[in-house]
C-alpha cells in the first residue's frame, strides 16, 4: 500500500467542480474542498436581502456540494487580498469588470498556499478547455498553472487527457486513463457523467457565480470609482451595489433606493453612515444618499424619493431627511414627474 495521497478541490458550488472532485475521489484519493469568498459571490446574498425571495431555499451551493460528495469544505475569506485582483488585473477584464484569468490564478495560488500548509499533494479544478471565453482556453490553462505557482500540481480531471500529464498522473497517484477529455461549451458530457455518478440535482448559476460578470453591476462599480476619483472599494460598497435602485442625478451624489421591504431593512443597517431620506406623509422606500449634497441637492433627492413612494401622484409630499450628524428634518416637496427623471440617472 502506498501513502494515502490528498488533494484539495476548488469547489464553486456548480456542476463541473463537483464532478472533478468525484472523479478523483473514485481513484482513492482523499479529497477536501476549498471555496473562496471574494465579496462578489452571487451565492446567498441577494436571496438573503430581498423579501420576495425569502421562501426560496437559501442553501449555499458550495456547502451543499461538499455534503453530496461527503468531503470537508474550507471557506476562505479573501475579501482584502482580492481587491488587488479586481483593481489591477494583469491580464485585463472580460466583457465587464470580470478579471476571470487573474481570478483563477489568484484562487489556485491561494490553494497552493493551503496545500503547502496542510500537507496536501495536489489541486483539482473543474476547468474544461473552451468552457469559458477568458479563463478556460487552451492557451490560458498553462498560464494559470505557471503564474499560480501550482505548476504540475494542478490537475483538471475533466479535460486532463487534452493536456500534458501532471505530477499526480506521472507519479501514478491517479490513473490518467480514468480521467476525461471534455472540451468546448457543450454541457452534455458533464450531464452524462453526473447521471453516471447518480447526481440528480446541481446548481445552474446563470452567468456564473460572480457579480463582476454582470453588466449592470459593473456599470455601478465603474461609476463608484469614477465618482471617487480613484479605484478602490470596501466590502460595504460592493454589498450596497447589489441592493436597490441606484440613481445619480448629480455628479457629486447618488441615491440608493430600496425596491421592497427586504431591501429597505438591509439599507436600514447603513443609516448611520449615510444621509438618508424616507417619506413620512406616504408609504415609501428608504434611500441612502452617497456623496455630498447642498440644500438644492437635498430637495432634488427628496423629490426623487417621492417619485418612488405611494405619494408619487400627490401635489406635495413630506420627506424626512436625516444627516449623518445632526437632527432629522422634514422637507415638503413636489414628487418628480416621470419625464423629470432622466434616463441617464439610472446606473
Amino acid at each position: 500500500m502506498g501513502e494515502q495521497r490528498k488533494a484539495v478541490a476548488l469547489i464553486s458550488g456548480g456542476l463541473d467542480s463537483m464532478l472533478a472532485a468525484r472523479v478523483i475521489q473514485e481513484q482513492g484519493i482523499q479529497v477536501e474542498g476549498i471555496n473562496f469568498f471574494t465579496g462578489f459571490c452571487v451565492e446567498g446574498h441577494t436571496h438573503a436581502i430581498r423579501s420576495r425571495d425569502a421562501r426560496r431555499p437559501k442553501r449555499n451551493n458550495a456547502l451543499w456540494v461538499a455534503e453530496q460528495l461527503g468531503i470537508k469544505l474550507h471557506i476562505v475569506d479573501v475579501i482584502e487580498e482580492y481587491k488587488d485582483v479586481v483593481i489591477n488585473p494583469k491580464h485585463g477584464y472580460g466583457a465587464n469588470l470580470n478579471p476571470c484569468l487573474d481570478c483563477k490564478i489568484f484562487m489556485v495560488h491561494k490553494a497552493v498556499e493551503w496545500i503547502e500548509q496542510h500537507g496536501f499533494d495536489f489541486i483539482i479544478t473543474g476547468e474544461v478547455i473552451g468552457q469559458r471565453p477568458k479563463s478556460q482556453r487552451r492557451d490560458t490553462m498553462p498560464v494559470v498553472a505557471r503564474e499560480s505557482g501550482a505548476e504540475d500540481r494542478l490537475l483538471r480531471p475533466l479535460c486532463a487527457k487534452n493536456l500534458p500529464p501532471t505530477l499526480p498522473e506521472r507519479e501514478g497517484w491517479v490513473d490518467r486513463e480514468k480521467l476525461y477529455d471534455f472540451s468546448g461549451r457543450s454541457r452534455k458530457p458533464q450531464m452524462a457523467l453526473a447521471r453516471r455518478f447518480g447526481f440528480k440535482d446541481w446548481a445552474q448559476p446563470a452567468g456564473g457565480c460572480c457579480f463582476l460578470t454582470d453588466a449592470q453591476y459593473s456599470v455601478k462599480l465603474a461609476d463608484l470609482w469614477a465618482s471617487r476619483g480613484e479605484r478602490r472599494y470596501e466590502l460595504d460598497d460592493i454589498m450596497l451595489l447589489k441592493v436597490g435602485r441606484h440613481l445619480r442625478p448629480r455628479p457629486h451624489f447618488k441615491l440608493i433606493i430600496g425596491r421592497e421591504e427586504g431591501e429597505n431593512r438591509f439599507l436600514e443597517g447603513y443609516r448611520k453612515q449615510f444621509t438618508h431620506l424616507r417619506p413620512v406623509s406616504h408609504k415609501g422606500p428608504l434611500a441612502l444618499l452617497d456623496g455630498r449634497a447642498d440644500e438644492a441637492d437635498l430637495e432634488l433627492a427628496a423629490r426623487l424619493v417621492g417619485r418612488f413612494s405611494q405619494g408619487r401622484d400627490a401635489e406635495r409630499i413630506r420627506v424626512e431627511v436625516t444627516p449623518t450628524e445632526g437632527e432629522p428634518r422634514v422637507l415638503e416637496v413636489a414628487p418628480l414627474r416621470p419625464h423629470e427623471v432622466a434616463r441617464e440617472w439610472y446606473l
Binding site: 451565492e43 446567498g44 449555499n60 451543499w64 461538499a66 470537508k72
Partner: protein, 77 residues
Amino acid sequence: MKTVTVDARNLLCPLPVIRTQDAVEGLSPGDELEVLCTDPGALQDIPTWCRINGHRVEAVDRQDREIRIRVRVGGAA
C-alpha cells in the same frame, strides 16, 4: 471545556459560516460555540457546515431577527 460566543449579526452568508469556522479552529473537541446572527441563510448553512466537518448543532433559537446557534465542537476539529 470552553464556551465562546461569535457575533456574526448583520453579516450575510457565507460570512457567519466563515466566522464560525475560524472560531472552531481555536477550540478543542467538546468545547461549545454560540453563534449570534441575523441572516436566515445561516439557519441552513451553519448546520450544513457542522455536519460536513464533524461538529454538532445542539440548539437553534430564533427571536425576531436574531438567531442563536449553539455548536458542540467535534473530534475532527
